[in-house]
Symmetry: C2
Subunit: 208 residues, 2 copies
Amino acid sequence: MKTTPPLSIAVLGSGKGSNFQAILDAIRAGRLNVRVACVLSDVSDALILERARQAGSPAEFVDASPFKTKLDGAGEQRVLDRLRRHGTDVVVLAGFMRMLKQGLLTTFAGRIVNIHPSLLPAFPGMESWKQALDYGAKVTGCTVHFVDAGMDTGPIILQKTVPILESDTPESLHHRIQEQEHLAFPEALQLIAEGRVRLEGRHTRIRP
Amino acid sequence: MKTTPPLSIAVLGSGKGSNFQAILDAIRAGRLNVRVACVLSDVSDALILERARQAGSPAEFVDASPFKTKLDGAGEQRVLDRLRRHGTDVVVLAGFMRMLKQGLLTTFAGRIVNIHPSLLPAFPGMESWKQALDYGAKVTGCTVHFVDAGMDTGPIILQKTVPILESDTPESLHHRIQEQEHLAFPEALQLIAEGRVRLEGRHTRIRP
């Protein structure tokens, strides 16, 4: 696995970074041929930055203003500058709570990956585990996908399912979805690192 | 299992009736405590009627006019008459290609069951397996649900998942979904027959 050079990823996150931790763990376990070029956060005291520093990765707060819910304009330019400086093949969104806009989407077309806590196209948007419970679904899951200009609409790389139990609360369901996310995200990134993921329009083709 | 009287079901279908066959098979195998009160079809030469006759169940063509895509007005009244005459606890839609309207929905509120070839709320409507392939989903499945006035929106009883393979065509995916349907439909009906399914608003609660 280590014969090809590692894929260089930049991780963007706004919170705890539990998916980033799963990526770190997979790298250490030899399951993921990835190098963390940098971790960027729009939240100065986000735990994901602390995790990155402890792992020896460059970790930087990036002021995302002037916008509150999207990354555009000057904030986007600051992120783009850092991605270039650190040499980024693929941008990994790990709990990054802003919509990306055209500059990043164009510069990294087909090279931005996100994870979403539902089986898309079901339950896009916020708190998908609550949406699934409110709907009365009996199965949900998580989706790793490339990011496009829509809200959780980009080409899907892989999906993992999670049964919804009679006893589930939003918290218990969210926890079991996150367990699957922590498997799915490194697995999808390894597929990319191995050059096995090809984009065809809105489809991904995965080479066996 | 056979200590309680069987649940009396009327089956409505427009086509081959492969799900009806799966129900018959489950009854014969002793996995489903259900009596087929009657099979009704809006298509006079539908194979589902022939299957019913071979199984010794009352099988009747019902003229669904005056409407082409829904069951309403005089056609609905004809169906209601037959459901009453045959003593129906639960109405089972097995490939019935018309929307039900208010008369049936009110008379059999919470007692009409349908199966849909996707993990609802994803891919409602027609040819859901094609929709899933076109979207680029990596997982789909089937859903057994109570019928309400919407299109594939009613309370879900159970769902089964089907992975989408790189090699899938619409036909191969449809086939694997149908295999899961043939397990899911008898399983859901047996839950109802055992009195384990309770409706709470748009949720079902399944007693273990």
